[in-house]
């Protein structure tokens, strides 16, 4: 391999507060335009920002979870630039003395090796408003509801060497902020977004190559495609004798390409200086100790515990722990029933499929963990088979009651009465004489196929309710007679 890719990521996580970082406006998503923008957010003369304590606590929580330094003193700065969705003409951000510095997390590479990604800093800032171009004739429309929403900008070192590693890192942070309950992680609504700094260099070159920054990335899939596109574009450019320009590029998911944003070269001179409106923040050891106690079991620990104590596979454990809602649902289900593997299969299988299909999540899921657990118990005690359970699950999903009620209403109880099963077996044998003769003359391998054929017939007759192991046993006895 001739080229090495170098990637650093800047993640903007919107902190899950009720009110904005410097004002008492609501942060609720989807409000009518400008109904959640007060005098402070509008930057009217004479207003003063007052920091939301929850924002500070959430940033500290993140810092503690990545083993970072949290200095006693932190300050805010003004980042100056002009844009209509930034009414003050500056964004309140942090430059010197960010609230979180020098943390790290471990990710898993494609080769399933563990790799440490260093996090240079995480700082607090306010979001800008939203500009709408193109829908209002010769005007740009501005909605300032988002202006002043609290953001934690998480800046990594350029420690990632391919798009897969970048995605692995992003998913890790995405999962972590949700476990910490500091960000809802909703990428469609822009609560979790990312800019990627990408460069390439000769494998034996020490210096980093010129980088470009890709903006407008709001799904894992797009981020991966954008990075891959940008890497090949840079390599092609260099190999054909061109030089890479340091610039900001936008990713266009429809064309799967990146292209330069209209260059605002001078605009990158942000002239940061400490914001005179805001006093420094003091973070005491007591605060840190108190916040540390609120940190729940994190995904890595949870995953290890699921493997060790519950005997789940690594694959199942990873899938169950990525999202805290899934992990908690699984743990709740396990309070009702005691078979981790069956629970895992139902949650990752039928439940996930149903949620995806109807675009629901575990917060508006019609099948509670109690309902699922009770249904699994009914599979375990042979009241229903796994196959019938799928019918029961669907009915629970459609709000037709709990498993017991549905089984009763739909008469789905498994048939375990051997007399009744024998009746189905006899019928199947009598109606398929040819197959019976074939069976008698067949090799073992062929016999197995014919057994499946008869089981199918019997299940059809019993409407799937005959106990499969009893059917098998009876059938073999009769055919081998």
């Amino acid at each position: 391999m001739k080229w090495q890719t170098v990637i650093g990521l800047e993640i903007h996580a919107q902190l899950a507060t009720k009110s904005k970082i410097f004002s008492g406006s609501s942060t609720l998503y989807g409000g009518a335009p400008n109904t959640q923008a007060c005098a402070v957010d509008l930057g009217l003369p004479g207003v003063l920002p007052v920091i939301n304590e929850q924002v500070i606590s959430m940033a500290i929580k993140f810092g503690l979870a990545i083993g970072a330094e949290i200095p006693e003193k932190s300050i805010f700065a003004r980042k100056n630039y002009f844009y209509p969705d930034l009414p003050k003409g500056y964004q309140i951000s942090q430059f010197e003395l960010p609230i979180v510095a020098n943390g790290q997390i471990e990710i898993e590479t494609e080769e399933r090796k563990s790799k440490v990604i260093k996090i240079t800093r995480a700082h607090l800032e306010e979001d800008a408003g939203k500009s709408i171009h193109g829908e209002f004739g010769n005007n740009t429309a501005i909605d300032l509801n988002r202006a002043g929403n609290p953001l934690l900008e998480i800046v990594s070192e350029p420690d990632m060497n391919n798009a897969k590693e970048a995605i692995s890192y992003l998913k890790k942070i995405h999962s972590l902020v949700q476990y910490l309950e500091i960000c809802d992680g909703n990428m469609q609504e822009g609560s979790f977004r990312c800019d990627a700094n990408v460069s390439v260099r000769h494998i034996d070159e020490k210096e980093l190559g010129t980088r470009t920054e890709i903006k407008n990335l709001n799904s894992f899939k797009f981020i991966e495609s954008a990075i891959n596109y940008e890497v090949s574009r840079q390599i092609d450019s260099i190999e054909s004798g061109k030089r890479i320009t340091q610039e900001t590029r936008l990713y266009d998911p429809n064309k799967n390409e990146t292209r330069p944003m209209r260059s605002k070269e001078e605009a990158n001179d942000y002239r940061y200086f400490p914001d005179p409106d805001l006093l420094p923040i003091f973070i005491s050891d007591e605060m840190k100790i108190k916040i540390k106690k609120q940190i729940p079991e994190l995904p890595d620990e949870k995953r290890a515990r699921f493997i060790k104590e519950l005997g789940l596979s690594e694959y199942d454990s990873i899938n169950l722990t990525i999202n805290p809602d899934i992990a908690y649902y699984f743990e709740e289900t396990l309070k009702i029933t005691d078979d981790p593997k069956i629970c895992a299969n139902w949650i990752m299988g039928d439940l996930s499929a149903a949620l995806n299909k109807e675009n629901k999540n575990l917060k508006n899921n019609p099948v509670s963990s109690k309902m699922l657990g009770e249904m699994i118990n009914l599979i375990k005690n042979n009241t229903i088979s796994g196959k019938i359970a799928k019918i029961v699950f669907e009915a629970m999903w459609n709000g037709e009651g709990n498993a017991k009620e549905i089984i009763k209403d739909k008469n789905l109880q498994q048939v375990t009465d051997s007399k009744e099963i024998e009746k189905f077996v006899d019928e199947a044998i009598n109606e398929n004489k040819t197959q019976v003769d074939q069976y008698k003359k067949s090799t073992d391998e062929k016999k197995q196929k014919l057994i499946s054929f008869f089981v199918g017939q019997i299940m059809k007759k019993s409407k799937g309710k005959a106990n499969p192991s009893q059917v098998n046993q009876l059938l073999k006895n009769k055919l081998d007679d």
Binding site: T17, I51, N52, K73, F136, T140, I142, P276, L279, F282
Partner: protein, 95 residues
């Protein structure tokens, strides 16, 4: 160090200030004087002195996370040059 004409123009552009050609020479001199003053200040030995982020040696008070503001859009937009459907309208910004 002197702040020359092109530097003045760049700073003016960043600050969105319209400066007439006839003013550039005097502004250039004033800014150069300010930089000279800072140079004098920089000559003081400040090793072991913590940088000052704010003239008041206090720490910030924090606000409880509560929604205290109500919708005042109508009042705010009464002062605005142009609005539509609840949006503020500005001259088209081309990306």
């Amino acid at each position: 160090m002197s702040i020359d004409k092109s530097e003045v123009q760049k700073i003016a552009l960043l600050a969105r200030l319209a400066i007439g050609d006839e003013d550039i020479t005097s502004i250039s001199k004033e800014l150069t004087d300010i930089v000279e003053l800072i140079k004098t200040m920089n000559s003081v030995d400040t090793t072991d002195i913590e940088p000052l982020a704010h003239p008041l040696e206090l720490f910030s008070r924090l606000r409880t996370d509560e929604v205290t503001e109500t919708d005042q859009r109508e009042n705010f937009q009464a002062n605005s040059a142009e609005t539509k459907d609840g949006y503020y309208l500005v001259p088209k910004v081309i990306e």
